[in-house]
Subunit: 607 residues, 2 copies
């Protein structure tokens, strides 16, 4: 039943050898790995304009130079990440680069902030998409949280089905979104070129603005940088690409960077030229589309694909999180379970953990996750800065041919990303302080896990100088509660294994004890019976005491002590309540508290 | 930690031999077992007057003959239950009497309805007591459910501490209540005798009343019979009495019956003489007390003790339920766990189950449990009728000296209780239909449990004609995941037990397989390694398949197959998440699905 539901939702299990067939070509990879980055276009320009509008309407012209600055940063990031892809073709992105060049802790900070960031990506973008849906159908507004959670579950299942299948589904909306925005930009530019748009809607570039400060401009720039989140996703997911993976990943990265640059500059320019001011109840993209087309089918097409891609941006998190978790787990900073491929060859534990964590965030914030956006941007710029710095160290250390040019690309990137990070902390500290608290905690957890695995490895390693002592023989203890078939089977089994077999009976009063001893003598005269009196009606305490004694003696003679416990397996599960299953209780007590070997003899009831 | 909280709440464990010291003397037994019956006085008269008031004010004089009818029934019940106590000194009351004389199903109906009734007793009386408290302190009204649940928890804990300790606490309020009501009745009668009360307040006995019908009178009588609930409690709890238990129980029963009769007739007479009509917002007892004393200290004393005894009536359920459950469990109609005495020698499972069930009812009905009162009365009159009928059969069958007198007592009792029952079903079917649905279900469950235990007993019984075949030898399978200390220990242990040891390694690819085989040959050249390839990355399936093959061969040679699994026991519990514990998974799969003997070798990490 459970298995067949799983089959329907997830699909048949795949063989390990089918892994190659699941890999991504460039077009699918672009769809699956860039929805996060491309969807940023939907809000990047708006973030800049909101800051500028706080000064005056005329200040809006600053959005053009600021956008150029963002594009410059984008170029630096793309060049730098292209270098990372070729230098670290095994994926892992910022985590690996930082770890190799800046040390363990820097790597863990990068990895930890990216992991958290992917959870935020999912929560924020699904909430944004849900808002778009509930804005269209106000009747659903009361169910925002349920809808968002449902969407996360759907995306989780798609990802559990495996990469290519979800990529096929996800490819359409991403390309539809790109197509929609290009129609918008081209039509808008055409209208401007043909003089259909009034020149008087905007202040000319360079118009003096009262009250503008460098701080405001930097803040606007930092806000615009939220359009760059998601750029790093490709560098984490190189192993998901078809061979030659690094080359394909690099091509995808360039393609994504170009699309992002074109769309971002187009939207920003149109917003400036149309003189659009950010509104509370309508997005900038919606305003541009309305100005360009009016409220017709094309407008709704643009709005619809925008809403869709916001939901699908979550999928970037689902592609990148499990791989990053895998890398951290492989290096023993995260639980080993994140290294296991599921039935459909995805790292299911990572996928499921991400789904659960983001649903948790959505429920806690009741779907109002906008306030998480600055934290989310910080979570991206920390690994950006660390990986750029790591690459600088790498070039300086290795000095390959043409390293100075590469170095300068990363140096510029590092300076800008660090600046953006500082601006974030200076201008939005109330939103991002949590990162300062959280990162040390998660790094400490990573290190604790690492230490534990190291300790365990050390304890399990065989030291040839102190070989294990082979036991000389065995003592088997069989707790009995009566004279039954199960006891008979247990005793027969025990006798073939060991030379010393003790049956132990725990009695609650003298009479019962004598009666049982008599019965035993008749039934099994050759098996030694030990009767223990329990004054407090507990089975565990007297048994544990007896086992201690036996273990003590056995140790002297180098014997192993094993306790043999029958376990009843009823035919129907409700029957379990009818059996005390003291066997189960005794077993876990002995294993966890007493360090005794326990053998379980299953006895299956036939009716 | 958990243990020490338990010690504080429940007290130190008691030895089985301390059981005698926990037994009840008559005065304590009266307090603990009669609070339910005596508290009925608080509402019995009122129930009669409510029905009569629906006709006219003059009809109130009928309460006197009806009360005489109830007293007559009380006398019959007391005489009959006294006979039951001596005939069935082991307790069990209606259940045992019905089962022995009327057959299994009658016994189970009696037992089932009493069990449910005790749950209703607790829920109804705690809710009534809570209402009294929240009436006094209206600010607590919003917390009715929480307060009621808290009170149940307190009573549960008192009962888990053990009988005598809770009896000591409970004795005071019960005797205070009796004392308060006697002050009220004596003062009231004195005032009447000295002519301080006007003769004109009531219609004389025999005044003709328009519209009165036999149906109404019977209904009033049935309502008045709710004052008799709780009478059976003593007969269920005989084993809790000090020796000679039956004699002490009988004395307690007579004492309780006399108190109940005196208090009930006193209150009914005063209500009649004062011409009191039932009011929505004031109880009849409160009106009598106000008329007699005015709103002074004595009045509040009477009200306070009444509220207290209503809460404590719940305790009757806690005394009787676990013993009845014990009797049903001993006869294998209920899970065996109800036969086990806890640390303080009470049947803790019964006490805790009762507490949970009544909290459940209180939450479902949100503390408004008044509508359950008729159901609760029916739940008492079914076993009343069955036990009376059972006693009739007994006398007819055994014909001891003076059996005709005894027979007539039970015969009259049976006829009246059956009549009351019929009246309940005729006049209050909407409240009591649930009993008709519920009783067949609970009896079916009892019978299913019984059948299961019988089947199990049959399967465990040793048939000397087909002795068990002793195994000839052992095969031990050791799943290994690497070459570690744990594997070394497992192999050494396995080699001392069996002549055939297989190490099984599950590999996910060819290369890994070859590499491991090579390493194994060097480390353990004498242990046979079987490598299995898992194309779907599952450990269970290939292992299970291999075990099937081995089991098949072993069966032919009459060998036992044991799988040896190491289990890591981390030092800190959070470490568990860092180990896949595939051992645990394999173990339960093999035990529940494959019927293989599994030996668990604990390996405790030192750090």
């Amino acid at each position: 039943m459970r298995a067949s539901i799983k089959r329907i939702l997830i699909g048949r299990p795949l063989k390990s050898t089918e892994l190659g067939e699941q890999k991504l070509n460039i077009l699918k990879a672009l769809a699956i790995l860039s929805s996060d980055a491309l969807s940023s276009v939907a809000y990047g320009t708006e973030q800049i304009l909101i800051v500028l509008a706080s000064i005056s309407v005329i200040a809006a012209w600053y959005s053009v130079p600021i956008a150029i600055g963002v594009l410059f940063l984008l170029a630096a990031l793309i060049i730098s990440y292209r270098q990372i892809i070729f230098s670290y073709p095994q994926g892992g992105g910022a985590y690996l680069v930082s770890k190799e060049n800046l040390g363990e802790k820097a790597g863990l900070i990068a990895g930890g902030s990216l992991l958290v960031d992917y959870i935020l990506t999912v929560a924020v973008s699904v909430s944004a998409g849900t808002d778009a849906i509930t804005s269209a159908f106000p009747v659903l507004h009361a169910h925002t949280v349920s809808i968002a959670c449902f969407l996360v579950v759907v995306i989780t299942i798609l990802n559990l089905r495996g990469l290519t299948e979800s990529a096929t589904i996800l490819a359409y909306p991403v390309y539809l979104f790109v197509f929609a925005l290009f129609i918008l930009i081209v039509t808008g530019l055409y209208k401007i070129a043909t003089g259909h748009v009034s020149q008087g809607l905007h202040a000319p570039l360079g118009t003096p603005v009262q009250g503008i400060t460098l701080f405001i401009l930097l803040r606007a720039f930092a806000s615009g940088c939220s359009a760059l989140t998601g750029v790093e996703a490709i560098s984490n997911a190189i192993p998901n690409f078809k061979e030659p993976a690094p080359k394909n990943a690099a091509k995808t990265l360039i393609l994504m960077g170009s699309l992002l640059a074109l769309m971002f500059s187009g939207i920003t320019f149109l917003a400036y030229y149309y003189g659009i001011a950010p509104k509370h109840d309508e997005t900038v993209v919606s305003q541009i589309a309305r100005e360009t087309f009016g409220r017709n089918m094309v407008y709704f097409f643009i709005q619809g694909t925008t809403a869709l891609i916001l939901v699908l941006a979550a999928n970037t998190g689902f592609s990148a999180f499990p791989l990053l978790a895998y890398n951290l787990a492989k290096d023993k900073y995260m639980p080993r379970m994140f290294t296991i491929r599921g039935d459909r060859l995805g790292y299911s534990n990572g996928i499921v953990s991400l789904g659960i964590a983001s649903i948790f965030l959505i429920i806690i914030f009741q779907g109002q996750t906008e306030q998480l956006i600055p934290l989310y941007a910080v979570g991206v710029f920390i690994p950006f800065t660390l990986s750029q710095t790591g690459m600088i160290i790498k070039w300086v250390r290795e000095k390959p041919a043409g390293w100075t040019a590469r170095l300068s690309a990363n140096l510029i990137g590092a300076v800008i990303t660090l600046t953006v990070l500082i601006i974030f902390f200076l201008t939005k500290f109330t939103h991002v302080w949590f990162a300062v608290v959280f990162l040390p905690i998660i790094v400490t957890i990573f290190l604790k896990i690492h230490r534990h695995y190291r300790d365990v490895g050390e304890q399990l390693r065989i030291h040839s100088e102190q070989p294990a002592i082979e036991p000389e023989g065995n003592v088997i203890i069989v707790p009995v509660a009566g004279i039954t078939k199960v006891v008979e089977h247990s005793l027969n089994y025990a006798k073939t294994l060991a030379d010393q077999v003790y049956a132990v009976y725990i009695s609650f009063d003298r009479e019962d004890e004598k009666r049982f001893e008599e019965k035993w003598r008749q039934a099994y005269p050759d098996v030694r019976l030990v009767t223990l009196q329990s004054r407090y009606r507990s089975i565990l305490q007297p048994l544990a005491k007896f086992i201690d004694t036996v273990q003590h003696k056995a140790k002297e003679r180098n014997y192993e002590v094993t306790v043999l416990i029958p376990q009843f397996i009823p035919k129907k599960s409700w029957h379990n309540i009818l059996h005390n299953q003291s066997g189960l209780l005794i077993r876990s007590y002995l294993i966890y508290r007493k360090n005794v070997i326990v053998t379980t003899l299953p006895y299956r009831f036939k009716k």
